[in-house]
């Protein structure tokens, strides 16, 4: 009996010193790893001899923004940015830090151009109060690919892509060359608002919004319908970068660069070139676009305008004077502002709305409803019913435009490029009265 106790004692003694052996982490010590990553990111950023081109996008305003940055060993950086004229031409210095937060994080920890996107005060650089454009000032390091570092915003999860710059690029970025290219890009697309690019058998129409920093791509589908999409772009030192790229007909288009003084080419990810075509009218036929990409044509509140005939301007002034004879209270007279042509292409209806104001900013509208037919691209409008109420009372005062022209003439509608602003507008041309034509904004 006693022997069993001895035995138990011996067994216990035998195991008393055995301990689970500490495992070596497969990927090494996590502490060493993060310190390695921190050192690697900082060293890579600092060691680039000519700095970095950087691109990011914003979550709320959905625009693309370009930067050029030089990182110093002493935690200081220099930057220019594609935000406005100052940011593109004046180099601003601030601090940065590579921090360990959850990952290795690049923190722009004092104010610089990139933080203007994140600034919640709309008076600084627009955006939404409290949120700015939806951008970050802290970016987690994700990966390296060749000469490119990928980061991701900690809060809005937008990419920050850093590409090593070359010597001549650095020189241009730091000597106001960036602003020159931005102005050149803007001027080119203001002069040529209708451009397209042909990839294989697909022609995609491109429109660049230099204020919104988004471009739209419209392509024709095989069934005759059209697809449109938006991507963020930003200006670069040699053209335009599509942040993240865009796929057209299975080809990933990455950027546009200036081929020579007057033309741009698109480049795919392999560097293949696709010339940018300059068009005088949209690839989307006007009749398809009307009611789809825009359905309201707004005649601006002006006395003359690009694309208006003298006759139209006179008649519009007469209608304005006519409306101005009226007031609700005999004191505050109506002032004609804009005129909307609202199209419902599905059921071929159109209404003309005269927007007026009185007593400051109070509004009062006159609405006249029409049906229309289209033959050979020519529009014929027919008034539905007899205007009544206020619309009826003031009907006689708008006769210069309606009874004498819109109601009786046939109209050709088409695209019109405003030579002053570059805006693509709509133009109405009377067939019967060639001296009566006018333009309006497509909304």
């Amino acid at each position: 009996m006693k022997k069993i106790f001895y035995l138990m004692f011996l067994v216990l003694l035998a195991f008393s010193c055995s301990k689970p052996k500490e495992m070596d982490p497969i990927f090494g010590n996590p502490d060493d790893r993060i310190s390695d990553t921190l050192l690697y990111v900082k060293k890579t950023l600092v060691d680039a001899p000519y700095g970095w081109k950087a691109y990011t996008t914003t979550e709320i305003s959905k625009g693309g923004y370009g930067f050029y940055m030089q990182f110093g060993e002493n935690d200081r950086l220099k930057m220019v940015a594609d935000l406005n004229e100052t940011t593109a031409s004046v180099i601003k210095e601030s601090t940065y830090r590579i921090r360990q937060i959850m990952y290795a994080t690049l923190s722009f920890d004092t104010y610089n151009y990139i933080t203007m996107l994140q600034d919640p005060d709309p008076s600084v650089y627009g955006g939404t109060a409290g949120k700015g454009h939806g951008s970050d000032n802290e970016y987690d390091y994700v990966k390296t690919h060749g000469d490119t570092l990928f980061f991701q915003g900690r809060k809005f999860i937008k990419p920050l892509i850093l590409v090593k710059a070359k010597e001549d690029e650095a020189k241009k970025y730091t000597s106001k060359g960036y602003l020159d290219v931005i102005n050149k890009n803007k001027a080119f697309f203001k002069k040529n608002p209708l451009t397209s690019i042909v990839v294989g058998n697909v022609e995609a129409e491109l429109a660049f919004g230099f204020r919104t920093k988004r471009m739209s791509i419209i392509t024709a589908n095989s069934d005759g319908s059209f697809s449109s999409s938006f991507v963020e772009f930003c200006n670069t030192i040699d053209g335009i970068e599509i942040v993240g790229g865009v796929v057209i007909n299975n080809v990933q288009l990455k950027r546009f660069i200036w081929k020579d003084e007057n033309s741009l080419v698109g480049l795919d990810k392999d560097g293949k070139e696709y010339p940018l075509k300059i068009n005088s009218s949209s690839v989307v036929p006007y009749l398809t676009a009307l009611g789809a990409s825009f359905s309201v044509i707004t005649i601006p509140d002006a006395t003359t305008y690009n694309g208006w005939s003298t006759n139209f301007a006179t008649r519009k002034a007469q209608a304005k004077a006519g409306i101005n004879r009226w007031a609700f209270d005999g004191v505050n007279f109506f002032i004609l502002r804009t005129i909307d042509f609202k199209f419902q292409s599905v059921n071929k209806r159109m209404s003309i709305v005269f927007n007026t104001t009185y007593e400051g900013s109070k509004t009062f509208n006159l609405t006249y409803n029409y049906t229309y037919t289209v033959e050979n691209g020519k529009f014929k409008f027919t008034l539905s019913g007899t205007p009544s109420g206020n619309d009826g009372a003031l009907y006689n005062d708008v006769r210069y435009l309606l009874q004498e022209r819109i109601n009786v003439d046939t109209f050709e509608l088409g695209y019109f490029v405003n030579s002053e602003t570059g805006e693509v507008m709509s133009q109405f041309k009377s067939v019967e009265h060639p001296d009566f034509y006018f333009t309006g904004q497509n909304n």
Partner: protein
């Protein structure tokens, strides 16, 4: 045998006991990778704030220093030193001088966090600053700071003094009676449209924000007394109406008492020192006599230089000769009082009381006050005078004989306005007590008057 067994067991047990004792080395190194290379700004901070006050300034963005749900921009480097310099001059040094070195070193927040943009709340309001746990003051909106604009300077100081009050409140509780003055009128939804300034002041609150809570109210009262100034506070209280006025004054009394009882600090001294710094260092005209006149802060000036104050102060010979002609007697009656009463920023009335033991009459004259471009004032008898007996009295020959020289003299020139010089260590009780009008053509001709503020 048994002995051997026992020995074995005992030896074995001891062996078992020690078999596990091993020298173990800690296999982890604890290292802080979150460092940065200090620059010129950091040197300045160390020299001016960390070494003397043990204050840390976090100007490089740290998300954990603000509400992590918010989007707040980092501070611009160029604003850090100017902003912190203002903190030193307009806050630390003021309290150091009045409260003493131990006071400010003990109670000053030990950490300042600076952010570039404001802290936007969902309800649309923007926070200018917060205080955490008596240790940290967070200042937002530093990027809008403009050293050349005295309003910008005082605006941020208002925030600091407000937040510092919270820190003091965490050391010593707000007296219970403070909350009773406006009990029932606190309103947490202070940004609501109905809580506009008119509503808040009619209830006895200095700002709509004061209605948020008792603590905020207390901090607003003290920070306004220091930064906006006593005259602003009194004028605001008076214009808030008969019901609200006593509430303002009760709150002021409790705040002053609180500072004195708990920290041995006289709020008036804080006001004097703060306003001196603002005027001298930042060219602020907010507390000048000129501002007081053009904002109609002053109720009236006692011009009866026979009173005690007239004996204690130096009265210019010009003032003495013109005033004594009236004050010695008026047509045989005893002159009882002489008051220059401000009706508005552009109107005033000179009232002279005279009579004997049984009756008192008043002779009145209306004056127009016009502020000139160079911040001086033209004080001339109005073309149209008021009506009534008082104005009739003013036109009596034997009254006019004595008053006309003064009236003519006032209209013949322009005056600059100034407070009597106050030195903290010499005459702090003279603060805002005496207003001096100085003839722009003759610097020796000064008219001193004792200030009376409007009250109910």
């Amino acid at each position: 045998m048994k002995t051997i067994t026992k020995t074995c067991i005992i030896v074995g047990l001891f062996a078992g006991l020690y078999s596990c004792v091993k020298e173990e080395k800690l296999n982890t190194k604890i290292e802080n990778y979150d460092t940065f290379v200090p620059g010129a700004i950091d040197e300045w901070i160390t020299k001016n704030l960390t070494d003397p006050y043990n204050i840390e300034v976090v100007y490089r963005y740290q998300r954990n220093m603000h509400d992590i749900n918010k989007n707040i921009a980092p501070a611009d480097e160029s604003k850090v030193i100017p902003q912190m310099d203002v903190v030193i001059n307009g806050f630390l040094d003021v309290y150091k001088k009045i409260g003493g070195v131990p006071f400010i070193k003990t109670y000053t927040p030990k950490q300042f966090a600076l952010f570039g943009s404001g802290d936007y709340d969902v309800d649309g309001s923007v926070k200018g600053g917060t205080a955490d746990g008596g240790r940290r003051i967070t200042l937002y909106g530093v990027n809008n700071f403009d050293i050349a604009n005295s309003n910008s300077v005082t605006g941020n100081l208002q925030v600091i003094h407000h937040e510092f009050t919270h820190i003091l409140n965490q050391m010593r509780f707000i007296p219970a009676e403070f909350g009773k003055i406006c009990a029932g009128d606190y309103y947490s939804n202070w940004t609501a449209q109905e809580n506009d300034q008119a509503k808040a002041r009619s209830l006895g609150f200095i700002t709509p924000y004061s209605r948020k809570s008792i603590g905020e109210d207390f901090a607003e009262v003290l920070s306004h007394l220091i930064v906006a100034g006593q005259l602003y506070y009194d004028d605001f209280a008076y214009d808030s109406g008969k019901d609200a006025y006593p509430k303002f004054k009760q709150k002021e009394a409790i705040v002053r008492d609180y500072m004195m009882q708990n920290f041995n600090i006289d709020v008036t001294q804080l006001q004097i020192e703060f306003q001196r710094v603002m005027a001298e260092k930042y060219k602020s005209s907010r507390y000048s006599a000129t501002t007081a006149l053009s904002n109609d802060y002053v109720g009236s000036l006692d011009w009866d230089i026979r009173n005690t104050w007239g004996l204690e102060n130096t009265i210019s010979s010009k003032q003495r000769s013109l005033f004594m002609a009236i004050l010695d007697e008026l047509g045989g009656w005893t002159t009882k009082s002489m008051t220059f009463q401000f009706v508005s920023a552009t109107k005033a009335t000179l009232n002279i009381g005279f009579g004997d033991n049984s009756v008192t009459y008043t002779a009145s004259y209306d004056f127009d006050i016009v502020k000139n471009a160079d911040n001086t004032f033209k004080i001339a008898k109005s073309a149209t005078q008021g009506t009534g007996n008082n104005y009739g009295n003013g036109n009596i020959d034997w009254v006019l004989k004595d008053t006309k020289p003064l009236i003519d003299y006032l209209g013949s020139t322009s005056f600059s306005a100034d407070w009597k010089q106050v030195d903290l260590s010499v005459n702090p009780s003279d603060y805002l007590q005496f207003l001096i009008l100085k003839d722009t053509k003759d610097p020796n001709a000064t008219f001193m008057g004792k200030v009376n503020l409007r009250k109910y």
